[in-house]
Symmetry: none
Subunit: 195 residues, 4 copies
DNA sequence: TTCTAAACGAGACGGTACGTCTAGTCTTCTT
DNA sequence: AAGAAGACTAGACGTACCGTCTCGTTTAGAA
């Protein structure tokens, strides 16, 4: 997709990339998403503005990468029950959203993604992708155990879970009730169970 | 709420108020929340910028009032079952959020509210207040019927419902699946029912 | 000049006039001419803005009256020599221009007068009028004594004197050299004397 | 004088500088000094406001440069008599002040310079500097010829001349009496001559 | 080597919005 | 009708970012 994998000319310095991502994370945490500007990120990273724009199309893409690309590698939970798996999944989601930079960035980030048609299309595919993948597996196993129907809608449940977490973490409180994952998982699991 | 109910001096012109609210609604619908500026609202309303700032502290407060102060007066549903009441409630929420101006404003509006500590405190009290009130009544009636426990957490359910609707309307699709309200209500109702 | 000397309705309160003039003088002295606004003057005088606009067309007229209508009543000097009379006249001019409010207002006031055609026409007739009257008499006496020609141009000399004083007081220094009046008078007197 | 002679980064475009100065000159001439705003200058020059503020601290500095930096290169007159030299000097001063843009800007410009302590200090050093230099030389030659005393005060005479010209050009008339230079020079020359 | 081309730090560039201020007018109730 | 209060339209203020552009310089692979 990028212009050319050409090796002509000076190669991009990987240290710049890292410095920019670090600076973005710090700034978002310190001053919030709205007050974080590309110029300020570049200045803190000791880098020219073009060096940022060369790698990312804008603030939303940069901050998304800076803030949400660490937790993809958690294993899919397998506790033996749907409620248990959902609880584990939710705990992961809450942990991810509750990291200082993530919590600070979340609402503004979603707003910017939603405002741009190109980015909007990526919300589910990029933003929720890792969670959806794991939820899919959890559902398959639950269906095999006969807990839920095979046609249980993954997206509906995922949006519901993500929405609830977003409202709690991003909009309402600083304090993520430690029982939130369990209570929410219990409601949803019971709600979609057969019987 | 405003500074003083003083009757001294020239009273504020209600036509300005209305013209500003109308202009804000139109602009948000046409160009989106981010591209809506106080200056442009004032210009379209045929009003000086001060006249806007005299009534609202900034864009978030103005757009919130412009976009979300029409539907407070829907009656509390009473269908005889929890699932039915929740479906009706959700349909109202979806209708409110799906209005063109509301859908356009929602993500940016929530982001701005979340970014300001003062406004953040008002999200639940002002933003979700009307819905919460009705949900509370629905829960009380369901508890009387023995469908749910008396201590069922209203806020948890409300956040879950609002979060799911927000994700669907604001972030994902233009088209709110007409069955969304029913399916979601069924899951939640079943999830919190006794037994 | 005003609409009608009608005695209908409530008569203007003379205390307002005085309070406005005092407030204008104070503000000009404290914050300077440019930063003095009609609104601020009215507020300090405890008066509505209209009460100011009802009496003066704008800031220049108000400040002019506030700052330059005290010294009209000095007697015409009569020392027996042209140089002596000019010295006395200049000392009066310097004293008038060097008063705190006058020195603070002078440059801005002249700029506003010069920018408005209506006011521009009044600079010489109103602003320099009292000085010109006295200078005329001094010249007539000097002509009778045979010191100067009868057709000596009053305006040219007056502008020269006023310009020199303006440059010293308004633009250059805070400290008006106490010998300025004498030295300037000596040059001019010698310059226009016969022989 | 400006921030840094640094060669780092993109150099300032000289065409912007010229376009701004031209636009300022035109606007001052057309609408006057007070009605000339930085925003309007930038718009007419086809330039962003920052590009103006990057080069000048404000309107006074900009207009001063736009309007008064052309005539520095006139040769010092040498007619053989003090009166002749002064006449030539005054004619130059009158020509400079009487240019459309200069006449329009003069009073407001002096007012703004006088109101700011930093600029005030520059009135004599920058504004009157070229004239003073030439007057100094004229005085030296006149002293050598024995027409005036060696200690004749340059500043006093310069302020007197400039004040007179300012009053005539800037405040009183559009029409600079063609004989003004000669008449004024005659008075001053005679006034400071020995005997 | 020398050449070519891209990356880089820096900062200028044309725009646009901000939130505050003032101008001069208008509209209310009170004296 | 004057007065105090304050709302009204209009528009300038100086600052901050946006995303792009031009500089001079550096760093590589290709000729």
């Amino acid at each position: 997709m990028s212009s050319s994998p050409s090796s002509r000319g000076r190669p991009r310095d990987p240290r710049s990339h890292e410095a920019i991502v670090d600076a973005a994370t710090e700034l978002v945490t310190e001053v919030g998403y709205a007050a974080t500007s590309i110029g300020a990120v570049a200045a803190r990273a000791g880098v020219g503005k073009d060096t940022v724009y060369r790698r990312w199309r804008g603030k939303p893409e940069l901050v998304f990468e800076a803030v949400f690309t660490t937790t993809d590698h958690a294993p899919t939970p397998d506790t033996g029950t749907l409620a248990g798996d959902l609880t584990a999944l939710l705990r992961g989601l809450i942990d991810e959203f509750h990291a200082p930079a993530a919590a600070a960035a979340l609402p503004g980030l979603l707003a910017d993604f939603a405002a741009d048609p190109v980015l909007k299309a990526r919300i589910r595919s990029d933003f929720l992708a890792p969670s959806k993948e794991r939820l899919q597996i959890v559902f398959e196993r639950a269906a095999e155990r006969g807990e839920i129907a095979t046609e249980t809608p993954v997206d509906l449940v995922l949006d519901t879970l993500a929405g609830a977490v977003f409202f709690h973490i991003g909009l309402v409180g600083e304090h993520p009730d430690p029982q939130l994952a369990g209570r929410l998982a219990a409601v949803i699991a019971k709600g979609i169970e057969i019987r």
